[in-house]
Assembly symmetry: C2
Homo-oligomer: 199 residues x 2
């Protein structure tokens, strides 16, 4: 007989398991009973490792953010200018396609006012991402303020497109890949016109 010593869970590993389930069955379909069953345990036992289902969902949100950040930083690494922008845009879209549950998680206001561990990690991850993003737009000669605006615009554009795509809100009949690239190109073109007068 295999003496199958039972798996040792902790908040992190439970959240990761829950994130997988969210990707498989949908973020909203994630239930505590489902999570418990997947852990091979009855529902109340889950509370030994985690405060509540909201706690788990908050954890998923943080996990999603850091994983997305990692993916974007990896995509941008080494590249610069247009090439880097396209790479990040593609990586974002690919990430969402691969992780539908995590995407939904990211597009919800945080359930609990987060305080737990992982919050610091999330903060530093965001700071890292912002640094990379600012570097991303370095070649476009924007003022400091305009860099913020340009970043917000790029994020909005990518996030919105991917959102509308996954909810099936776009009319059919025209290729989405083409539209996506067209949009990023047009964004870059618009950016050129925003460049500050060369000093």
């Amino acid at each position: 007989m295999s003496v199958a010593t039972r798996k040792r869970w902790n908040r992190q590993s439970v959240v990761e398991a829950a994130a997988d389930l969210a990707d498989k069955h949908g973020y909203d379909a994630l239930t505590l009973a489902m999570l418990a069953q997947h852990m091979g345990v009855k529902p109340p036992s889950v509370y030994k490792h985690v405060q509540s289902l909201d706690d788990v969902k908050t954890g998923i949100q943080a996990l999603a953010a850091t994983r997305l950040t990692d993916a974007l930083m990896a995509a941008a690494g080494g590249k610069s200018g247009d090439e880097a922008v396209f790479a990040v845009a593609d990586a974002y879209r690919a990430f969402v396609k691969a992780h539908p549950g995590l995407q939904v998680a990211m597009s919800r206001p945080s359930a609990t006012a987060h305080q737990g561990p992982g919050d610091d990690e999330l903060e530093s991850s965001n700071r890292q991402l912002l640094g990379v993003a600012v570097g991303l737009l370095g070649e476009y000669q924007l003022s400091e303020d305009d860099t913020i605006h340009a970043l917000r615009m790029l994020r909005s554009l990518i996030h919105g497109f991917v959102m509308l795509e996954t909810t099936g809100s776009f009319e059919m009949g025209y290729d989405l890949d083409t539209s996506y690239r067209w949009a990023i190109e047009t964004y870059i073109r618009g950016l050129a016109g925003a460049a500050r007068p060369t000093g």
Copy 2:
């Protein structure tokens, strides 16, 4: 005693009442018990007018779409070119601010494969909106394909910005109104470069 003859409900009026509640308490917080109480009725009675809670939510989605369409068409009415684009963008953002519940409803995949009445209305409303939108970009001299791309991009940009704004995903410290206008301006600037060679 006032003989207060009780209000006659139907699917439409129930959906409208539910939409108000969704705006007040949040789309996800909307519960059948809450809806029943607001109607002055016990939960099971709601089913006399509506098939299920999912049915109500599908109704809210349709209602949100048609109301948004109306608001956008009203905003665009008479205007053209840049002015019209700014007007539509502002109207969209204002609508979402005024109807947070409806916005969330719109950004969710439809709960039930809609079939009920109001679906036709939704369809025609969408067709109307597309017509207005195409007219909106008429001045920019885009090819037919590019018009679709430009429309998708504008929608993505607006939807994404408003989404990130309402979920509090933007870093603080820089004015959002300014960023929003900046983004629309940059979009229009990029559009100019996409204009087809004048034939």
